[in-house]
Amino acid sequence: MPNLALKIEDLTVAYHSKPVLWDVDMSVPEGVLLAIVGPNGAGKSTLIKAALDLIPRAAGDVRFFGQPYRAVRHQIGYVPQRGTVDWDFPTTVLNVVMMGLYDKVGWIRRVGKRERQLAMEALEQVSMTEFADRQISQLSGGQQQRTFLARALVQDAQLYFMDEPFAAVDAVTERAIVAILRQLRSRGKTVLVVHHDLQTVPEYFDWVTLLNVEVIANGAVGEVFNVENLSRAYGGKMTVFDNQTTAFTTELSDVKPNNAP
């Protein structure tokens, strides 16, 4: 049994009295690319935020590499949704990336040459070198996303949480991000991605969590990403995806749809 990068037990998050996440249990082995999918309002982003202590949880326990968040936060990287910041903020791409290193630089000290170097290397990985001194207000959506990704890369974490990195980016950027995710995996990192496009799950990811307030299924894509689980997660909306899901299941040869009469 490989080590667990993340283990969540009985996690419940509520808004007033309404549960947003209910009794979530999930385990994520080290070195996988995991997609968190589910319909709108399923609590996908909430799951990430609750795990990272960004919002209070009503109950539950979250362990990273067997330890609580506080103890291992230096090994955890985070890519928030692009829309959460003001992209008209007066700063450059390079500066934003270096923000990923502030934590390591520590209080009072200023960033130096070494940090610049690391940030430039991260920008190179996301093909943004020539944008280093660019004002962030001049970036396209895809470039903004890659800037955020570079900021996470400089953190050099073991476990990454990414909130909708594929939302509203162009196709080329999407491919570039996928390439980076795979590279992270090949270096033994674990990446959890909130994802909205069911169609690309089998192609991009090897592990999946189907979420709809509760965890519907959590496991290897080949084992749990099937019509039965999808229809349990998406319910009536499933008809919309009918054609797509047939396509999935033909790809996943060992899984047969068994909800037919």
Binding site: L52, D53, L54, R70, R73, I76, Y78, P80, T84, V85, D86, F89, P90, T91, T92, L94, N95, V96, M99, Y102, D103, V105, W107, I108, R110, V111, K113, R116, Q117, M120, S127, M128, T129, E130, F131, A132, D133, Q135, G142, Q143, R146, R151, F161, A171, V172, T173, R175, A176, A179
Partner: protein, 439 residues
């Protein structure tokens, strides 16, 4: 790889600072005003306070918390009155009172917005009016007391720089140095929390404490500034310099410095003018100067100013229009027998409207169009240009659709790029192939 990390920012910032100080000193030295002891005191006090407000106000502007500054300065008034009632007219007592009241106002705003469904903006409004109303009521009560005449507390409403003495300047200066030290020490953290609060939280920063420190420094600036600008207009001295600075720079450190310079100019000028004139309240004068700076900058700032943006827009429209004219001339010619056939001028005007005349004249100057009889036709150079342009457009059409299959390393191709100049040859060949044979 070249070293793109060396940046001229440090130098620019120093220049800004030196320039601002030179402007201040020069203005004072060259002005026809005779500076006696009192006036120098007032100018110094006004300058330091303005700088301090401008520096801290930049963060309020970036966090979109203008209303918070307004609420806190209004909330300080009852504190000033209570300070007077407890300790008499002693400046430290009044400032401590103001500080405590402002701080209480802030805590209440946070408490209301965190525990109820009332949003923060509404909470600020409630605290602003209730504290201010209480302050005015206390003020009327104090005015009726026998010692009211020496109190002069009503000066806190619109500000009175002339009341400042040398000792006040020393206090203000010392606090100012303290604020600057704190700002330098926690610069990274203030920047991070202002730009991306969530990321700071995820990195384990004590975000609430950092925000509390920043807002407390702002409260200090507000409280010190009350005497100068008054509770009603203090927010102007806090916000206006930051708004103006924001339009002129793309770098946080520069913005903060520039904002300090603007605040200093407004503070000094307003304070001196008011001290010279009999009974002119300082607050309105300071804010008039600050607003003049803001409106000038909003109009004329490069890149973000209204004038610059309007001109830029017009230039872009004209460029597009010129491209369209070339295309129209070309199409007409092809439809009427040959590449060099002329299009009648009225026809072109009907197609391209008002901009046609200017566009045609510019194209003629560039040697792309030439007149022939009562019409226009492409020069050889113009023909070459339009053929290149059309090929580029076709390539783009293909690139937009097939760029995925072609080459994913081409992430950063700008939308107005000439693809034949930008793409590597093999990619170009591939696109051409697609264009000729379909996908």
């Amino acid at each position: 790889m070249s070293n793109p990390t060396t940046r001229p920012n440090g130098a620019t910032q120093v220049f800004l600072l030196i320039g601002g100080i030179a402007l201040l000193v020069g203005g004072i030295a060259l002005s026809p005003i005779r500076f006696d002891y009192t006036l120098i005191t007032v100018a110094l006090g006004g300058g330091i306070l303005g700088t301090l407000s401008g520096v801290l106000g930049s963060f309020s502007v970036l966090k979109r918390e203008s209303l918070l500054g307004d609420a806190l300065s209004h909330a300080a008034l009852p504190g000033v009155c209570l300070g007077f009632l407890v300790a008499g007219r002693e400046l430290p007592a009044l400032l401590i009172g103001a500080g405590l009241a402002g701080w209480l106002g802030m805590v209440l705003i946070r408490a209301i917005s965190n525990t109820t469904r009332i949003n923060e903006e509404t909470a600020m409004g409630i605290i602003l009016v209730s504290f201010f109303a209480f302050g005015i009521a206390l003020l009327s009560y104090i005015q009726q007391r026998p010692d009211a005449s020496q109190a002069g507390l009503d000066k806190f409403i619109f500000g009175q720089a002339a009341a400042m003495v040398r000792r006040d300047v020393w206090v203000i200066g010392a606090v100012g140095v303290g604020v600057c030290v704190a700002l330098l020490a926690f610069w990274k953290e203030f920047e991070l929390v202002t730009f991306d609060r969530e990321f700071a939280l995820a990195n384990g920063y004590p975000v609430r404490s950092i925000e509390l420190l920043l807002i407390s420094l702002t409260v200090v600036a507000i409280v010190l500034g009350l005497q100068l600008a008054g509770v009603v207009l203090m927010v102007g001295l806090l916000i206006a310099p930051g708004v103006a600075a924001r339009q002129l720079t793309r770098n946080l450190a520069q913005m903060v410095l520039l904002s300090g310079v603007f605040g200093g100019i407004a503070g000094t000028t307003g304070a001196v003018l008011s001290a010279l004139g009999e009974g002119l309240p300082t607050g309105p004068l300071i804010i008039l100067v600050a607003s003049a700076i803001v409106f000038t900058v909003i109009l004329f700032a490069p890149q973000r100013g209204i004038v610059w943006m309007t001109l830029q827009q017009r230039r872009h429209r004209l460029q597009l229009s010129m491209r369209h004219i070339l295309r129209d001339v070309h199409r007409y010619a092809l439809e009427h027998g040959g590449e060099r056939v002329a299009i009648p001028e009225p026809m072109l005007r009907a197609l391209r409207g008002r901009e046609a005349r200017l566009g045609v004249r510019l194209l003629e100057q560039q040697g792309l169009l030439e007149s022939l009889g009562a019409g226009w036709r492409l020069t050889a150079e113009g023909l070459q240009l339009i053929e290149r342009d059309e090929r580029n457009q076709k390539l783009w059409r293909a690139f937009r659709i097939y760029s995925l299959q072609v080459d994913t390393s081409l992430l950063n191709v700008s939308r107005d790029a000439d693809l034949t100049q930008t793409l590597p040859l093999h990619t170009l060949n591939e696109l051409e192939h697609i264009l000729e044979n379909g996908s």
